[in-house]
């Protein structure tokens, strides 16, 4: 644009066809934008990881749970998780629970609240330290998983988890979800919906909570300073449960 100003100042005869130049530059920028935009949108969610790509530690997945927004009677996150992962509604103490609502009552103030509790996807997971076969492992992008192919079912990780996040499968299972294999004799816990994340989607619990209008669960990339979760963590006070253990959890809580 400064070219045009310069041109009008020097010579009127030398004026180029600015309309065409303008049109070309605008349309090429628009075209470039159109090409990049879908990738940018996915990038926001999955940092450009297509299903066939390898995960990297450039990304660290996490969740921020707002205790102030979490409603005491609501179990939508639990129901969504169970449906997504093929878990039966728990009735016995041997049934697996990947996420649960915990009802809290402060001993001093007697204030009552509830919040969802699941695997905290620690940076220094005790379950990974104690697993004899390295079945319990932390993926490059921060998700703590159980490799059921090599899990021998010793339950040491269940003993080691500070959050009681792990469950042992006590009985024969059938009709598992295709994306969520589960079997008798292995240990399991919240996978942060890894099968959904790898496709660029969000976790089932976060989705259900937004659908219910509470918006208490926010999922995103903790390593990306521009993600919604990073921005929120910078603006509000949030804490990790049992932060005294120094595990640097990926799941943080606001309002407790």
């Amino acid at each position: 644009m400064s070219d045009i100003q310069h041109d009008t100042k020097t010579s009127i005869k030398m004026q180029p066809n600015l309309d065409r130049r303008d049109f070309l530059s605008k349309s090429s920028i628009g075209l470039a934008g159109l090409t990049i935009a879908p990738g940018l949108m996915l990038f926001d969610m999955a940092h450009g990881k297509a299903p066939g790509d390898e995960v990297s530690n450039k990304v660290r997945w996490g969740m921020l749970i707002d205790n102030n927004q979490c409603e005491s009677g609501c179990n939508d996150c639990v129901t969504a998780c169970n449906t997504e992962n093929g878990l039966a509604t728990p009735t016995k103490p041997t049934d697996a629970q990947w996420i649960r609502k915990v009802q809290l009552k402060d001993n001093l103030t007697h204030k009552v609240s509830s919040l969802p509790m699941m695997c905290q996807h620690c940076e220094h997971p005790p379950c990974v330290d104690v697993c004899p076969t390295q079945a319990s492992f932390k993926r490059a992008d921060g998700i703590v998983l159980v490799d059921k192919h090599i899990c021998i079912g010793c339950r040491y990780c269940v003993m080691a988890c500070p959050y009681q996040a792990r469950s042992f499968v006590h009985e024969v299972l059938t009709d598992q979800k295709t994306e969520v294999p589960r079997g008798k004799g292995t240990v399991e816990s919240c996978t942060l919906c890894v099968h959904r994340i790898d496709k660029g989607e969000t976790t089932a619990c976060a989705e259900a909570c937004s659908k219910a209008g509470h918006n208490a669960i926010l999922f995103g990339d903790l390593n990306d300073p521009e993600s919604a979760i990073s921005k929120r963590i910078r603006s509000v006070t949030s804490t990790q449960i049992r932060s005294d253990l120094g595990l640097n959890t990926g799941v943080r809580y606001e309002g407790i």
Binding site: V102, V130, I150, A160, P162, F168, H170
Partner: protein, 396 residues
């Protein structure tokens, strides 16, 4: 067993005893099969109490295996002649106990068919992975130890083998304590006292098992143990029982001083129902104080030693039940300063009722230890020949 000729009666009795052992092993197989076929749903375990009765049996056997070898170590490492001649017997019992304990542990896994995976994938930070090496090494060293103690031309190697065995045992038993000590979040376990506590417990339990087997062997051979040697051994058992009591007391007393641990301690020591009953009645009174009375009050003969040893073993099961299952029953403190409840047992005491398959599996492990000891002592010359030791002493 004895170098005397085998009478028909003796042979028949041996086969009856062996058959009994095989029968109990078979029962153990039945229990294991139930769990493998249907999953742990047939056991009393759940997602709050994931280690149940089989672990109580297994850890007793593994700790006692290490402790039984101590009898041999006192001879080889500390140069005490009456103990040195008991090394072969100790080694045989140790191999039996470790086999039984490992069998129970491995068969209680959710996927026992994946033992090969455990043996080929190692996590360097996991005590369970270390144990694969430590337990295999224990077997190998025990057999070497046995060999150097029984083969004349290998006697010269028995001291190095004994030292190696002693060191290996200390590491292995500390490892058993570390399994629990590394569980930082569990109020029952995160304590540096546990490795030494398990070492001392191993001395006591190993000596008790040894005294029982020894009494059985001498009775079978219609011999009596030299009173002086028996007195030394029973005094040692008493010393180990007192030391164990001391460490258990130290563990609980230090715990009581931590405000955050008080809830757990009161649960175990006073409010927890079955757990305080087993701790005080089972371990402290039946398993420690009564045996001490039997061992130290005047008029102790052979029978008192046997009764005391048996009671120490009963007490050990009680202590392990409280330690392993009581330790899991008490809820984790995830939200300190809050009262919590959930569908997953948060804030609630875990419920556990031992089931028949678990009891059968554990008993099967004991039967394996029994069978190996029975056959090993029959096949090998493990009977302690006290006559030579006493004679040598009298000559000196």
């Amino acid at each position: 067993m004895s170098s005397a000729s085998l009478s028909r009666n003796e042979s028949r009795n041996f086969y009856i005893l062996a058959a009994l052992g095989v029968f109990v092993v078979f029962l153990g197989y039945l229990g294991m099969h139930q769990m493998e076929e249907h999953g742990h749903i047939v056991s009393g375990m759940n997602n709050q109490i994931v280690w149940g009765l089989p672990h109580v049996f297994a850890i007793f056997m593994i700790v006692a295996a290490s402790g039984v070898l101590n009898v041999g170590s006192i001879g080889t490492v500390f140069g005490q002649a009456p103990y040195k001649i008991r090394t072969p017997l100790a080694a045989v019992i140790a191999v039996g106990l470790l086999s039984g304990g490992l069998a129970v542990l491995m068969l209680d896994l959710g996927r026992p068919d994946r033992i090969i995976v455990a043996a080929t994938h190692f996590n360097p930070t996991s005590v369970f992975a270390w144990n694969i090496f430590l337990y295999s090494g224990f077997f190998g060293l025990a057999i070497v130890y046995l060999w150097t103690s029984m083969e004349k031309r290998m006697y010269v190697w028995s001291k190095p083998a004994g030292f190696a065995m002693f060191a290996w045992r200390v590491i292995l038993t500390s490892g058993t304590g570390l399994i629990f000590a590394f569980l930082v979040v569990r109020q029952a376990y995160a304590s540096a006292l546990l490795p030494p506590m398990f070492i001392v417990l191993s001395f006591a339990w190993g000596m008790a098992v040894f005294l029982l087997v020894q009494a059985a062997m001498f009775a079978w051979n219609c011999k009596t143990i030299d009173p002086a040697i028996l007195r030394r051994m029973k005094n040692l058992l008493g010393l180990f029982v007192i030391s164990s009591l001391y460490l258990v007391a130290a563990y609980h007393m230090t715990n009581l001083y931590f405000a955050k641990q008080t809830g757990f301690e009161l649960f175990i020591l006073r409010d927890g129902g079955i757990y305080p009953q087993l701790f005080w009645g089972g371990y402290v009174i039946l398993g420690s104080l009564v045996p001490l009375a039997l061992l130290y009050l005047p008029g102790v003969g052979n029978k008192s030693v046997v009764a005391a040893s048996a009671l120490v073993i009963v007490g050990s099961f009680a202590l392990l039940y409280v330690f392993i299952i009581g330790g899991q029953a008490y809820p984790l403190s995830i939200f300190p300063g809050h009262e919590v409840s959930s569908s997953f047992g948060d804030g609630a005491i875990g419920k556990y009722v031992p089931s028949l398959p678990e009891l059968l599996l554990g008993s099967g492990g004991l039967a394996i230890a029994y069978l190996i000891t029975l056959i090993g002592t029959r096949v090998l010359n493990t009977m302690p020949q006290d006559v030579t030791v006493v004679a040598a002493k009298n000559d000196a």
